[in-house]
């Protein structure tokens, strides 16, 4: 505990406290930010798109089907160019891109509860009431993003907000609840144009001069910085990238229809102009009943758009600099329940990666028709199990995150990934 630590926020504070040091926090902020971004990353990955399947997709109805076995149900498997990569028959488009993808069949955790499992998969850490870990998008925004960018560095299409915790509000997700529709509060209110807004803001600045001078310089600085960013976003020509109005009909046709398709087009539009982190959330995978039909429907909704995204990114020469990750919070029980459903099963489930730096055309892990249980000591029986901590360490290595850097979360030292976890080298070598 004798080591001297300083993070940006602490530094700002120390600076602000050191009376007589007449440097504004925003000046310090941008200088430090510039120093932070000046670090050269040894990675060609500049963007991450996380396709998050909420509810826990069945591995048996997506990427690890077992047709003709006791637990297999009616789901059939498709043959592909890659041995072991045999997706369900409701994923024909993705099956044709097997060589562009890497499949992990042996993702394994102990969290069979939705919110705990989702937290673990989104952050690489188990939930803990004493600390809020940032999710993947926030880490990417902080590590890969430019703090002065006029668009948010992390855009989340649907789903609940997930605070960036100790990485600070700048790396929070900007959540779009209805992709494609007008974004709430992003447009000027009725009867207000740029001039009128400017009049209002001039009034604000006048009215709070005293408050700034006498009482709340730090608060006013922070407040102004947030408003400046918000107004830059409101007036930015890049705003149109949130919408689909000027997207050519043929691209839209390639991605197909539905909210997931629209979300993926928006994701591509945003990374094209430099947004580093996108999360697309799709719900409905908690198939406790009627699993087979529901899973097949859901697969159909993701299949064509996801394949189109791969093609589109390749065409635009963005696939090598973009990492696309497909995951959910857990898998589903091999045993079929009385309601033709499958329940929660964290022991073994699938994660798919594609794009920049990924050792595509590879399959990690193997399961038998019983699924994999655990041995007497609670260790997963699946071959080559991958834990969330290992997955995040791998992503960190691939993107060259500052994994040895000590961040401060309140009074505690924190690292972007678990210190002791090892990367899964097969994923990128």
């Amino acid at each position: 505990m004798t080591e001297f630590r300083v993070n940006r926020r602490d530094f700002l504070r120390t600076g602000a406290y050191a009376g007589g040091l007449m440097v504004t926090t925003s000046f310090l902020g941008s200088t430090l930010a510039a120093q932070e971004t000046a670090r050269k990353r040894n990675s060609k990955i500049n963007h991450v798109i996380l396709l998050y399947m909420e509810g826990g997709p069945s591995q048996l109805e997506t990427f690890d089907p077992k047709p003709g076995t006791k637990n297999g149900g009616p789901t059939k498997a498709l043959k592909t160019e890659v041995p072991g990569f045999t997706p369900a028959d409701s994923l024909p488009y993705i099956a044709k891109r097997a060589k562009d993808l890497l499949l992990i069949k042996s993702m394994s955790t102990r969290e069979g509860n939705h919110s705990r499992g989702a937290y673990l998969m989104r952050t690489g850490y188990a939930p803990n009431p004493t600390i809020k870990h940032p999710s993947l998008g926030s880490i990417v925004a902080q590590q890969l993003g430019n703090p002065d960018f006029e668009l948010p560095n992390f855009v989340k299409l649907r789903g609940a907000p997930f605070p960036a915790g100790y990485l600070g509000v700048d790396n929070n997700p900007f959540v779009i609840n209805r992709p494609g529709a007008r974004i709430e509060n992003l447009d000027y209110a009725k009867g207000v144009d740029k001039d009128r807004m400017e009049r209002r803001m001039k009034l604000v600045r006048e009215m709070e001069k005293d408050f700034a001078k006498e009482r709340g310089e730090d608060a006013v600085e922070a407040h102004r910085a947030m408003y400046e960013k918000a107004r830059r976003l409101m007036d930015s020509p890049l705003r149109k990238k949130f919408y689909l109005d000027d997207e050519p009909g043929e691209t839209r046709k390639a991605y197909g229809e539905g909210q997931f398709a629209d979300s993926l087009i928006i994701a591509r539009r945003l990374i094209e102009v430099g947004v580093p982190a996108i999360e697309v959330v799709m719900g409905g995978w908690d198939t406790h009943d009627d699993n087979f039909k529901r899973s097949a429907d859901l697969c159909k909704q993701i299949d064509q758009p996801w394949a189109a995204l791969i093609d589109d990114l390749k065409k635009r020469k963005l696939y090598d600099s973009t990492l696309v990750i497909w995951m959910g919070e857990f898998g589903r029980t091999p045993r079929i329940s009385g309601t033709s459903g499958r329940d929660h099963w964290p022991n073994n489930f699938c994660v798919v990666l594609g794009g920049g730096g990924v050792n595509a055309g590879t399959v990690i892990g193997e399961t038998d028709e019983e699924g994999a249980g655990r041995d007497g000591r609670g260790n997963p029986l699946v071959k080559d199990p991958v834990s969330p901590a290992e997955l995040y360490k791998t992503l960190g290595v691939m993107m060259d995150w500052e994994m040895n850097k000590e961040f401060q979360a309140g009074n505690r030292p924190m690292w972007l990934t678990e210190k002791t976890a090892k990367p899964v080298e097969k994923i990128f070598k």
Partner: protein, 560 residues
């Protein structure tokens, strides 16, 4: 490493003497005459307050820290309204307090402020706001809204009746029965039977001990081991909640499975896996008490007057809330590297609070009528770094819940659109008046629901206990304040009311200023208003601009 602590060390001996003298811990053992003049613990909140003030002023003098001045009436009024009710004072409330003057009862200065504090403590707004504050601390905004509503109701009733705080918490930890009869069950329901989370959260919120790390590994720098965690979590081991019924008839109930004997508990604990026998955190093993289930035993121990952690955590939390910093910061993380700056004051305050019968209003009175609470926020040359001696108060961001209460109050939505009775009938069976009333009622509900969603999204990142120096906000907050329709034209609102009530432009501007910011404009504020409105010709747009501009100021979302 902690500079604040280093500042404090030389003065520790002095404070120990002072505080002890004021509460006369030593003198209580003396003869009869002294006893009458000596304040006894838990009997007199003014004695607690004065001893804190005197002790800290002595410490400030010893450390060469000059305390700030006491705030004027205007700043005090807004501060106390925000802190105790979650929203700024209205024009009428400002006028009733008569800042800088005698009020209607002929009071001024400290006496007038104490009278206001009494009035606010007795108001429903106080119970609502403090219940919300506690609910958010307990649930961290996680979990289902239905559970939150039960918990909110439980806390509001308890705070309205000023129920002893140890009983309130006991009722949450040991809640038994079914909703809606037992609304306190709402707290444990939010964990959805995640017993590990129950253990982590109850020890953190009520005892200030963060043991959750020890769920997976022995704590890195504390003495907590996995065994400590498991044996504390074991108190919740037999506890379960279940639900029955659908829709409005849905209810939840607790299932505990009573314990017959120690051997019985042991046997059943073993059956559930590798779990240990329950042990009170950092203390002795649980032993069987006839007729008591595990959670009741835990609640008894946790909320007992002998449990220093419980009383000191509560005192620390209230002090942090009103002063911006607690004895220990972060407020709920007591550990061997994060020790109280001045343990003696905390210990005495904790004992005094317990002796008062865990009377939270007693504690609040002592804090908010003190000189240390009433100090200005702007630092002087000597106290910029003071986080220990309470020589100043702080500018603090409002919580999202306070922002919501503030917007609803300053726009006047509830006050100006009274809820009329609408029979629960299909629309075609309603009279014309009832149809009108229903339209208004639905619009208010829609406005509030929308506002809550917008605030929830925009403030989703907010920490439950935000550091006093943390003023960061997200762009979603700025977008909300700039572009959302916070002054709905489809409802009566305070801007419409002001325009109808005041003809003169300066009068109108002043009324808008007082309504939104909850204080009278200063000389400089008046100057700006005059300059802005002197050239104004016609049109009411500019009043809306002023209203919205004031909502967008840093001051609106902060208390000072």
């Amino acid at each position: 490493m902690r500079k604040s602590l280093m500042l404090a060390l030389p003065a520790l001996a002095a404070i120990a003497c002072l505080v002890a003298a004021h509460f006369n811990v030593a003198a209580q053992k003396k003869g009869g005459e002294d006893r009458d003049t000596t304040p006894q613990l838990g009997k007199d909140w003014r004695a607690l307050r004065d001893s804190m003030d005197n002790a800290y002023e002595q410490l400030q003098a010893d450390a060469g820290v000059k305390p700030n001045k006491i705030v004027d009436d205007s700043i005090f009024l807004r501060r106390i309204y925000l802190d105790l009710t979650g929203a700024p004072p209205s024009i009428d409330e400002i006028n009733a307090f008569a800042p800088g003057r005698k009020d209607a009862n002929g009071l001024r200065g400290q006496a007038k402020r104490e009278a206001l504090v009494e009035k606010l403590l007795a108001s429903p707004e106080f119970a609502q706001h403090m219940a919300t504050w506690w609910r958010v601390i307990m649930t961290e905004r996680q979990g289902d809204g239905i559970y939150h509503n039960y918990l909110q109701r439980y806390l509001e009733e308890a705070l309205t009746d000023n129920k002893p705080w140890n009983e309130v918490v006991h009722g949450l930890i040991a809640a038994k029965g079914r909703t809606p009869d037992v609304p306190g069950l709402g707290f444990l329901l939010t964990f959805e039977n995640d017993r590990v989370a129950m253990a982590g959260q109850t020890s953190k919120v009520f005892l200030g001990r963060q043991i959750q790390c020890a769920e997976c590994h022995d704590h890195h720098y504390e003495a907590w081991t996995m065994s400590d965690f498991e044996s504390y979590a074991a108190f919740f081991r037999f506890f379960n909640t279940r639900a029955e019924g659908d829709g409005a008839d849905r209810y939840w109930y607790s299932v505990d499975g009573g314990v017959l004997s120690e051997a019985d508990a042991m046997r059943r604990l073993r059956l559930t896996g590798k779990y240990k026998l329950p042990r009170y955190l950092g203390e002795k093993d649980w032993t069987y008490e006839k007729g008591k289930d595990l959670r009741t035993s835990l609640a008894d121990w946790m909320t007992s007057a002998d449990n220093a952690w419980f009383r000191e955590m509560t005192v620390n939390r209230y002090l942090d809330y009103f002063m911006g910093v607690g004895f220990v910061n972060p407020v709920d993380d007591f550990n061997s590297f994060n020790t109280p700056a001045l343990p003696v004051v905390m210990q005495v305050m904790g004992r005094d609070f317990a002796a008062s019968g865990f009377d939270t209003r007693y504690l609040v009175r002592a804090i908010v009528t003190s000189r240390m609470y009433q100090r200005e926020v702007s630092p002087n040359r000597t106290n910029r770094q003071d986080r220990v001696y309470y020589s100043r108060n702080f500018v603090r961001s409002l919580t999202p819940e306070m922002v919501e209460r503030s917007i609803l109050k300053v726009t006047g939505i509830d006050r100006l659109n009274p809820h009329l009775h609408v029979p629960d009938l299909p629309v075609e069976k309603l009279s014309e008046d009832e149809k009108q009333a229903k339209v208004v009622r639905d619009r208010i509900a829609g406005y509030k629901g929308n506002l809550r969603t917008l605030i929830r999204n925009a403030f989703s990142n907010e920490e439950v206990v935000k550091d006093v120096d943390d003023h960061d906000g997200s762009i979603m907050q700025a977008l909300l304040f700039m572009n959302a329709q916070l002054l709905p034209d489809y409802l009566n609102n305070s801007l419409k009311e002001i325009l109808a009530r005041y003809p003169g432009k300066i009068e109108r501007a002043t009324a808008i200023f007082m309504t939104v910011l909850g204080r009278e404009p200063s000389t400089r504020d008046k100057h700006i208003l005059n300059a802005t409105f002197a050239n104004w010709k016609g049109g009411d747009d500019i009043f809306e601009d002023l209203f919205v501009a004031l909502l967008n100021t840093t001051e609106f979302v902060n208390r000072q």
